[in-house]
């Protein structure tokens, strides 16, 4: 194989890291439904953009699938009831993974609530115009299920003078532990392709490429089987490397094009969607339903029943972990993957639309503790790891002396997407990514004050 690869290299980008994948725990486990939690918490701001506006009042009964909040603007999506039950309250202070408390709708589940979704109307996609399709995507409450939770319909409308030529469907799943996209590609291939065809029509894209890391070749062959001859959709294997699943990296790997600094993929005629988003759209849009559940990988050494669960949006993490058999000495819970995910401080945090995984660690696996931080030895390991060719070493030194503005003006801090490769390779254990998050937060605040 090694010699073969000399002639035909797998598609990839430069730099990046190779963390232990740990996917064997859940990769072979089929998606399983989870029972309803007795209390559902649906935060109104689960996505990037304006929070949703509640449509229900406390005491009102809701049916599974019914809209309970409408979009608060163009960059916003509606919310739907994940269970049949009664709205207990609209609580202003519900903990979130990020920390600050936000408003949320609390629904008490009826014991007889069924998994079947009765809400929704069949619609004929062929007869819908492009605008109507985009509206239908917004009405479904769909956001990027890969983790960013950016409203999907916004990406369908390129700004004036730009158009989308290529659709890239992200099935890389480069984060360790996570396998939900892998299972979706294997089990929901038809829905995935249906979703892609719908979105191709909505964007007018000429071709669609599904990029999958080459540790999931079973998914690649499964998808290729379903493709017709001379299909506008192709499926490509890319090198297994972190952060292959970052949209800019995947574009570079598949098309050998770079998104300009500070720009968006649409600037080079590309839109990137996650496979989970496409599969859900393929299921929801034909029946004009809303997003009420998603596949979440629950994994890590701290759970006895790891797996890929179909979880209703709004299920508290505590309930999810009980179902997955979390052990009593579990001591660290991360929503998302371990590289870019967020550690949560409270298990009352609900599963939101952007949560792709919950990784639970136990004490003995936590080798991070008491690792002393040493000064930068200027070895340059971070420069060789940074997928977007920044200079994390210099940025880190500037951050330690609080030169946040210089970081942004002279060293392209804004292009950093916090993948964590630099912190991962740093032999001095400098928390570089954390420094950059602070710098970005402070720059954002300074700008907000100035405006």
């Amino acid at each position: 194989m090694g010699l073969f690869n000399l002639f035909r290299r797998t598609k990839t980008f430069k730099h990046g890291v190779h963390p232990m994948a740990h996917k064997e725990q859940t990769a072979h486990l089929a998606i399983k439904r989870l029972p309803f939690a007795p209390k559902m918490v649906i935060p109104l701001a689960q996505h990037i953009g304006a929070p949703a506006v509640p449509l229900v009042k406390p005491g009102q009964e809701v049916v599974r699938g019914e809209p309970i909040a409408e979009a608060g603007g163009f960059v916003s999506v509606p919310m739907h009831a994940p269970v049949t039950g009664i709205v207990r309250s609209i609580d202003q202070l519900v903990p979130t993974a990020a920390g600050p408390k936000t408003p949320a709708i609390i629904i008490e589940t009826y014991e007889a609530s069924r998994q079947e979704v009765l809400y929704g109307l069949e619609q004929d996609l062929e007869s819908l115009s492009r605008e109507a399709l985009i509206e239908a995507v917004q009405a479904s409450g769909m956001v990027g299920l890969g983790g960013a939770a950016f409203p999907s319909h916004v990406k369908l409308l390129p700004p004036e003078g730009k158009s989308i030529d290529t659709l890239i469907i992200n099935g890389c799943e480069c984060e360790p532990y996570l396998t939900c996209d892998h299972r979706v590609m294997l089990e929901q291939t038809d829905k995935l392709l249906a979703g892609i065809r719908t979105i191709m029509r909505a964007t007018g894209a000429r071709q669609a490429i599904i990029g999958v890391e080459d540790n999931k070749l079973d998914a690649v062959s499964k998808i290729r089987e379903k493709l017709v001859k001379d299909d506008a959709i192709t499926c490509e294997a890319v090198e297994t490397k972190y952060p292959q699943g970052a949209e800019k990296m995947l574009i570079k790997s598949l098309l050998n094009k770079e998104v300009p600094s500070g720009g968006l993929p649409v600037d080079i005629g590309v839109a990137v969607y996650n496979v989970g988003t496409m599969a859900q759209l393929g299921e929801l849009i034909p029946q004009s339903r809303g997003l009420i559940e998603r596949v979440v990988t629950v994994s890590g050494p701290g759970v006895s029943k790891p797996g890929n669960y179909l979880v209703p949006i709004g299920t508290p993490l505590r309930f999810l972990m009980e179902q997955a058999g979390s052990s009593s000495d579990a001591n660290e819970v991360i929503v998302g993957g371990p590289m870019m995910g967020m550690t949560v401080a409270s298990l009352d945090v609900p599963v939101t639309k952007g949560v792709s995984g919950v990784v639970v660690f136990k004490e003995e696996n936590e080798d991070q503790k008491n690792r002393p931080v040493y000064p930068c030895i200027k070895c340059g390991a971070c420069l060789d790891a940074c997928p977007i060719n920044l200079n994390p070493s210099m940025l880190g030194q500037l951050a330690s002396v609080r030169q946040y503005e210089v970081m942004e003006t002279d060293y392209h801090l804004k292009d950093c997407f916090e993948c964590g490769c630099c912190s991962y390779v740093c032999p001095s254990n400098i928390p570089l990514t954390q420094y950059f998050r602070i710098a970005k937060a402070i720059n954002r605040e300074t700008k907000a004050v100035a405006a």
Partner: protein
């Protein structure tokens, strides 16, 4: 050409060049001269040159300029000694101005012996960093994280961290320069005149029992302080008592008397503070368990 002539030519040329350039400099000095009040330098010499910004100007030199124009009064420099400010006033022949000493106060009393920590944070030792990791792990999402970003940023050593992880402001040293206000990720510091003695040392927006589950010195929004005080002085906003300092003259110790948790306090002018009689007594000295 002999050696002597070549030397003479080069010396002559350099002399000529020198005088031409000198003329340019002389002309530039005359044409582009900017008059600057010599008193600015003298006044600046009398200022502490800490450039802290507490007076409201960006640094000591702009403050000196303001003093001469009359937009500032010498007493507004809170870092300088009274004698030095008097010297400036005498030198400029202006009024010293009324000193209004302002200090930074922390709107949180939840040290590790009274406020629950729900998750322990490991990583960069900075409040700002901890606040970005799920809020820092403290039960109260508004509370002080206690890693001392404010103590580090303070140029005057006015802030020290006590054993419960709360910053203590030394009011003699505090110049109200605003640095701690800006650095705190939870926006807990406020600048107050020392005449504003009534103060709510809490920012939690939860109510009643929910709030008390997180911290023992929390404002539970029981409204007793608002009811006891003259009307309008204290209002309840989002489950938190808020003092209207424009009515500061009405403030008295009545407001703190019935507070069940001691979240509203009365500062005396020496820098200490007292809580009401009904506030529960905290005798615990050790840290609360995490969880």
């Amino acid at each position: 050409m002999t050696d002597v002539t070549s030397i003479a030519i080069s010396v002559g040329f350099m002399a000529l060049l020198g005088s031409v350039l000198a003329m340019v400099l002389i002309l530039a000095n005359k044409r582009l001269f900017v008059y600057e009040d010599p008193r600015i330098d003298d006044v600046e010499d009398l200022l502490p040159r800490a450039n802290c910004g507490a007076c409201g100007s960006p640094g000591c030199r702009p403050f000196a300029e303001g003093l001469i124009v009359g937009t500032f009064q010498p007493a507004q420099c809170t870092v300088n000694s009274k004698e030095a400010n008097k010297l400036i006033a005498d030198y400029l022949g202006v009024d010293l101005g009324a000193e209004n000493k302002r200090v930074a106060r922390l709107a949180c009393a939840g040290g590790s012996h009274v406020a629950f920590i729900r998750a322990s944070y490991a990583g960069l030792n900075s409040c700002r960093a901890a606040a970005l990791v799920s809020g820092g792990g403290k039960g109260c999402a508004w509370g002080c994280l206690g890693m001392g970003d404010c103590a580090v940023v303070c140029d005057f050593d006015a802030i020290t961290m006590n054993k419960y992880g709360l910053p203590i402001v030394n009011e003699d040293r505090c110049t109200a320069c605003n640095d701690c206000v800006e650095v705190c990720p939870k926006d807990l510091f406020e600048l107050h005149s020392i005449n504003e003695q009534l103060f709510v040392a809490c920012k939690n927006l939860e109510k009643g029992e929910e709030a008390e589950n997180e911290c023992e010195v929390i404002c539970t929004a029981c409204e007793r302080c608002a009811v006891d005080s003259p009307e309008g002085l204290i209002t309840m906003q989002n489950n938190l008592a808020v003092i209207d300092y424009s009515k500061n003259d009405l403030a008295s110790k009545v407001a703190i008397e019935r507070c069940p948790t001691g979240a509203i306090v009365w500062f005396d002018k020496q820098g200490g503070y007292q809580v009401g009689k009904d506030a529960k007594k905290i005798i615990r000295k050790e840290m609360l368990p995490i969880g």
